[in-house]
Amino acid sequence: MKRIRSHGNAIGVVLFAAVIAALGAVDVFRPFGLRFSDLTGRIVTMDTMIRIGILTIVVVGLNLLMGYAGQISLGQAGFYALGAYASGILTTLAARHGILPGIADTWWWAWLAMIAGMILTGGFAYLVGRPILRLKGNYLAMATLGLGFIINIVSGEFPGLTGGNDGLTEIPRLRIGGFALWPMQRYYFLVWGMAILVIVVAVNIVNSRVGRALRAIHTNETAAGTSGVDTERVKVQALVISAVLASLAGSLYAHFQSAVSPNPFGFTVSVQLVTMAAVGGLSSIWGAPFGVATLFVISDLLQSRMENVLHIQGGGYEMILYGILLVLIMIFLPAGVTTSGVEWVRRLRRRWARSSGVETV
């Protein structure tokens, strides 16, 4: 029976989790007085690592949608915002106005809000997905782009609910019973625990019946239909999954920043997310954390070093770089940096094996 179900690489998961845990443990135990950021020459801090973990969750969703179902989304930051605002609104407003006393101030209320956000965002994606996913290619890109814009603009309105352009502040930190998931070192483990869980689930989806259907649609939508795949439904499912993941990440972001505002969920972020997915490899779930990390490091380096080199201030040049990067990757590494990297290593190893006279399979 093992022929049908292929097993995810369990060793890889354990190894990856161990590295992540070890990195986190450095900041907790401070061996030789070292901090986490010292390990990376002060380029990647604990703060950055948490952001990478959060965005990894969004990018895994985009991988499923773009790399497997072959449907583009330039509005993913919108779903990300919906999750963040759901958590932000539910955890601050109820407490401020004294609604639901005895419930809104419990530790599990924030978790409930997170789940509510995922359900709402998933439901929203389902509703808009049916009409939008009939579009293809550039038209789908435009529609999702518009969707992201609308969510972003609406979130700046209704100050009574969303706090308008200033956003919401004093969003409480997450707790489990009496155990606070803060300071940052604790939150790090929560975020990366969830990110790894999401990766494992996504890898399993990809290797399941649904994943096979997704790849079939990507390869040949007509043939998928004649094979009995309900293409409309499977595409909507992929969008809903990606939206739910974005919402989860949004909630984690809201509790991390303790604040939300329209600014970090704009069009730029949607483009960054797509770039991250492309860098990691569109059809590579495991590429997601590396794609996210690569862009974070590049943009951090740009922000800290570029000013000294080029004497330009402000963040506008970042977008230019993203554009150039995306074009270069699509031309030279269409499978993404990670996938192509693995392929190169494999090729080198084969060449080495041949030259040393060892037979490989």
Binding site: M1, R3, I4, R209, R212, A213, R215, A216, H218, T219, N220, T222, A223, A224, G225, T226, S227, G228, V229, D230, T231
Partner: protein
């Protein structure tokens, strides 16, 4: 089992089917022959729901199916092996075959799917040798085997085959037709559309001849094979050489 009555269908603005009526009985192999552009592929695509039927009736197993989406029609028991094979070229041979059984997972369970896989590998041992290979790297004949195997994995009551011999070497084409015969022994009814009239008439019990979207002749394969008009037009046994070469 399948009955079409006065079915019309359009390809863009061109009427590709003009009042087609035909029927296929359970356990039969029926061939539709005709030249390029006669509307043979449109006929199959209309039955499988890829092209909407306009006017007329399509009844399968006592149920009108015109207007249903393709994935519903597959579920009812009609599976199409599309022209030019239309395999999932970036996926493995195994994934392609399993996709054929996509809608059966919940219904029949994994064990039934596994058994059918074994049957496909028995009739096409080549596919088993290439089980992990990317489908796009297979030879043309192997791709046709894969398409046929995938179509059969849906466990259809009626299998629609669109030009199975197209672009294949004669030996390979013969192999495909031989296997079609074996599928019938397993209780699959087959409607096959072919330009290669010779092979189609040798395989089928009955046949229809299509011209310009209409059925112009029908009958037992053996009768059609000895029919003067069919011999002249499709079997290349002209009694007098054609006066002008066709363009």
């Amino acid at each position: 089992m399948l009955k079409l009555e006065k079915v019309n269908a359009f390809y863009g603005r061109i009427q590709a089917l003009r009042g087609i009526s035909l029927h296929v009985a359970e356990g039969e192999i029926v061939a539709v022959i005709g030249s390029n552009g006669a509307g043979k592929s449109t006929l199959l695509n209309t039955i499988s729901g890829m092209i909407p039927a306009r006017g007329g009736q399509i009844v399968f197993a006592g149920r009108p199916i015109a207007g249903l989406p393709p994935e519903k029609i597959v579920r009812l028991g009609i599976s199409q092996v599309p022209e030019r094979r239309q395999i999932f070229s970036t996926m493995s041979v195994m994934d392609n075959l399993i996709l054929g059984a996509y809608h059966r997972y919940g219904r029949d369970g994994r064990q039934a799917v596994e058994r059918d896989l074994d049957f496909v590998f028995e009739i096409f041992p080549r596919l088993q040798e290439r089980i992990g290979q990317t489908a796009g790297t297979l030879s043309g004949g192997e791709q046709q085997m894969l398409a046929l195997g995938r179509g059969w994995m849906a466990k259809p009551r009626l299998l629609l085959m669109d030009e199975p011999s197209l672009g294949l070497a004669p030996l390979m084409a013969r192999e495909i037709f031989r296997v079609s015969g074996r599928l019938r022994e397993r209780g699959t009814t087959i409607l096959v559309v072919e330009q290669n009239a010779h092979a189609a008439l040798a395989l089928a019990d009955r046949a229809y001849v299509m011209e310009e979207g209409q059925v112009v002749l029908e009958g037992k394969s053996s009768d059609l094979a000895s029919d003067q008009r069919v011999q002249k037009a499709y079997l290349g046994k002209a009694t007098t050489p054609p006066s002008s070469p066709s363009p």
